[in-house]
């Protein structure tokens, strides 16, 4: 009898406590947020006797069908990022569901001042996935959120898809909160972030931001993003156009669609480190204007491969020179190979002057396996 009573009590307690009596909330009382933006506050102000530091803007799809607006945009300011949520209580009748956020945007001034303080808020939240996408914006990120794409349900879904799928169509990295956190915290590593801007009423990717740990220090445009991504070894697939000229005359023009790989070998002679980066591009020829039949002129395909290789090598070498002379941070993620061999010696110094002094050689190998329906 005692056992039966005990069992009943245990089951009742389990049902009462384990079903989340305290934690249960009606889904109808939640606001689903897919996109968040963080900026440094420009207007100033005081809250609770302390200076306001951050603006946090969120975009919430409007789940009510009988309202005119498809989305709700809410901006609040706060002494700290999480502290700004206090202000939401006065403007948002529902509770924010942070676990649904899929992308975070950071304004330009915020990125320059450093993202580490706000990253703590994001990383400390157990409900927020570390696989959220990250990007920085030209200007204030909160202003970008007001743009409404005409052919997408809302800007949040547009940006999520834009960032998520870009590496399947171009040599451009996808960066998540986890990537940024690990790369900004680990010795020898520095993250990059996509840069978004508004152009003619549309949000577009305009380049890559170069970070020294958590601070934005420079940027490259879309032309520079390709060699940077290839040198970083981020696996992508993309289109590479080529133009072949011989003795000043254009012989062919076309495009290959390839995927990339990277191998890095590092050697050392005393304090001089030499990195040999081999980039491999494998894929198919998807267009070329010269009507030559490739089986009748077997060297032509090799010429195309050689041209693409030469172009990419040249781009990469230019970027490496810029990295060593201007950026002065390892934005191509190669120091880790030196750390893998000489970690105890380099750990404390790899972030100061190491990449500037290294010799970095690039070799590009292109292999075109298919030529589509035509030969």
């Amino acid at each position: 009898m005692f056992k039966k009573i005990s069992l009943i009590l245990i089951i009742l307690t389990a049902i009462t406590t384990g079903s989340g009596c305290w934690d249960a909330q009606d889904i109808a009382e939640r606001s689903v947020v897919v996109l968040g933006a963080v900026d440094l506050n420009q207007e100033g102000g005081i809250q609770f006797g302390k200076p306001v530091q951050y603006d946090a803007t969120i975009l919430m799809p409007n789940l009510y069908t009988d309202t005119a607006e498809k989305v709700r945009i809410a901006r609040v300011s706060g002494v700290s990022l999480s502290g700004s949520r206090d202000q939401r209580a006065y403007i948002n009748p529902q509770t924010i569901l942070t676990s649904m956020i899929r992308v975070y945007l950071f304004g330009e001034s915020m990125s320059i001042s450093g993202l580490a303080p706000v990253l703590d808020s994001l990383l400390r939240n157990p409900l927020l996935s570390n696989s959220v996408y990250m990007a920085t914006t030209e200007g204030q990120a909160g202003d970008m959120i007001t743009v409404q794409p005409p052919d997408f349900p809302d800007l949040g879904i547009y940006i999520i898809d834009l960032l998520r799928k870009v590496n399947d169509k171009s040599f451009f990295p996808v960066i998540t909160l986890h990537d940024f956190r690990v790369q900004s915290a680990s010795p020898g590593k520095n993250p990059v972030l996509p840069i978004l801007r508004v152009d003619a009423g549309e949000v577009k990717i305009s380049g890559l931001g170069i970070f020294r740990k958590d601070k934005l220090i420079d940027r490259v445009g879309l032309d520079g993003a390709r060699p940077l991504t290839l040198l970083r070894g981020v696996k992508c697939k993309g289109y590479i156009p080529f133009v072949i000229t011989r003795e000043g005359e254009e012989v062919d023009r076309g495009t290959v669609f390839v995927g990339n790989g990277r191998k890095v070998r590092v050697e050392r002679q005393g304090d001089q480190y030499t990195f040999n980066i081999t980039i491999t591009l494998k894929g198919q020829l998807i267009e070329h204007e010269n009507p030559v039949i490739l089986t009748r002129n077997r060297e032509f395909l090799s010429m195309i491969e050689a041209q693409v290789a030469a172009d990419i090598e040249s781009e990469c070498q230019t970027l490496i020179d810029t990295m060593q002379e201007e950026f002065k941070v390892d934005c191509i993620d190669i120091s880790k190979y030196a750390l893998a061999k000489w970690r105890s010696e380099l750990e404390d110094t790899v972030d100061e002057g190491f990449i500037e002094r290294a010799n970095i050689n690039v070799d590009v190998k292109v292999h075109i396996g298919n030529t589509g329906d035509l030969i």
């Binding site: 996935s129 570390n130 696989s131 915290a185």
Partner: protein
């Protein structure tokens, strides 16, 4: 119980909430060699297993209480039994507290800690109240239920892991690896429960083999998960995280299911096996020590032990206290785990010598 069941009990006792936190501890000093520290740390429970098994062989017809009283006399023997039971009850409290805080962090942030702890305690009491054989069977069942979860590391390994974080192998130095191995060995504590459980096994000659297999089954996943966590985060970044395993699942969006960390935590919510295993062993020991009837008094003893564990688990005020107290309490495991069998061996030797002299 059978030797196979004792193997599952060993596995269940060693793998609790520790599983989620071990990569942080292992990488604190050993850095990229954290996985080596885990393997070395796993030697401690093996030594404890061998010591207890060798001890038990000398007294095949006795149980732990009888052996204690035989070797040390009624009073001293009883004191040793009570001390071990108290040590196990503290272990239960530690497990309850840690589980409650992790549950609160990831799944039930608004639910009071006392409610979560109460739920864990009541379930543990119910399971332990069914007896050692049922407890062993539940350990076996949970092992098979959790087995697929270990394949979850494949996705982070394929997508975000960087093998260079593990290199150079051995580069952190023997001293650092040894220090981390010592810290990890505290995670492999609680083998001392075998001082009681060994004597419940019918085929005692198979205990060593079953125990060794169980230890391998614990050490290998611990090592693999530690290695993958280091590859995903790097040793420096691991130090910030309370539960690196969950953080690893949180760092990638799994196909279809996306948030594997929350699903894993829901499944892991019943993994407080150490709590009911240790509760069962301490309850049994106290019942036997007090010469009470198992049918009538075992549950009552369990309730008292469980209540004591619950009250002890309420002492930490926050998760920082839980981690600090946990670390302190961890030091008692090698002391008891090695100290008890060694002391009993010594006593057995002295007793054997005295008998010969007579």
């Amino acid at each position: 119980m059978t030797s196979k069941q004792i193997g599952f009990m060993i596995l269940g006792t060693l793998v609790g909430i520790n599983f989620l936190t071990i990569p942080r501890t292992a990488s604190e000093w050993a850095q990229q060699d954290a996985w080596i520290a885990v393997l070395i740390g796993a030697l401690l429970p093996l030594v404890v297993l061998v010591l207890i098994e060798r001890l038990g062989r000398q007294f095949p017809e006795m149980d732990f209480i009888q052996m204690s009283q035989f070797l040390f006399g009624k009073i001293a023997g009883s004191v040793l039994v009570i001390l071990l039971c108290f040590h196990m009850i503290i272990g239960v409290a530690r497990e309850i507290a840690r589980f409650a805080y992790v549950e609160s962090t990831f799944l039930l942030p608004a639910t009071p800690i006392w409610a979560i702890s109460l739920l864990i305690l009541l379930v543990s009491l119910y399971v332990a109240g069914q007896g050692a054989q049922v407890v062993a069977r539940i350990n076996e069942l949970l092992f098979y239920l959790y087995l697929p979860a270990f394949f979850l590391i494949v996705y982070p390994l394929m997508t975000v892991a960087d093998y260079t974080y593990l290199l150079p192998v051995g580069g952190s130095g023997i001293g650092s690896i040894a220090r981390s191995a010592f810290d990890v060995s505290l995670y492999f504590g609680r083998m001392e429960f075998l001082m009681v459980a060994y004597f419940m096994v019918t085929r005692k000659d198979e205990v060593l083999k079953a125990g060794a297999v169980a230890l391998v089954a614990v050490a290998v996943p611990y090592m693999l998960f530690t290695a993958v966590c280091v590859m995903v985060f790097g040793a420096e970044d691991l130090q910030d995280q309370i539960t690196p395993i969950l953080a690893m699942f949180k760092s990638v969006a799994y196909p279809i299911l996306e948030r594997m960390d929350l699903l894993f935590m829901v499944a892991w919510s019943v993994a407080f096996r150490p709590a009911f295993n240790l509760l069962c062993m301490s309850g049994y020991s106290l019942t036997r020590l007090l010469n009470l009837q198992k049918r009538k008094h075992y549950l009552m003893i369990l309730t008292v032990s469980g209540t004591a564990a619950y009250l002890l688990s309420s002492i930490p005020r926050n998760i920082v206290d839980v981690i600090i107290y946990s670390n302190w309490q961890g030091f008692t495991h090698p002391i008891v785990g090695l100290g008890y069998p060694l002391l009993y061996h010594l006593a057995a030797r002295i007793r054997g010598g005295q008998k010969q002299n007579v």
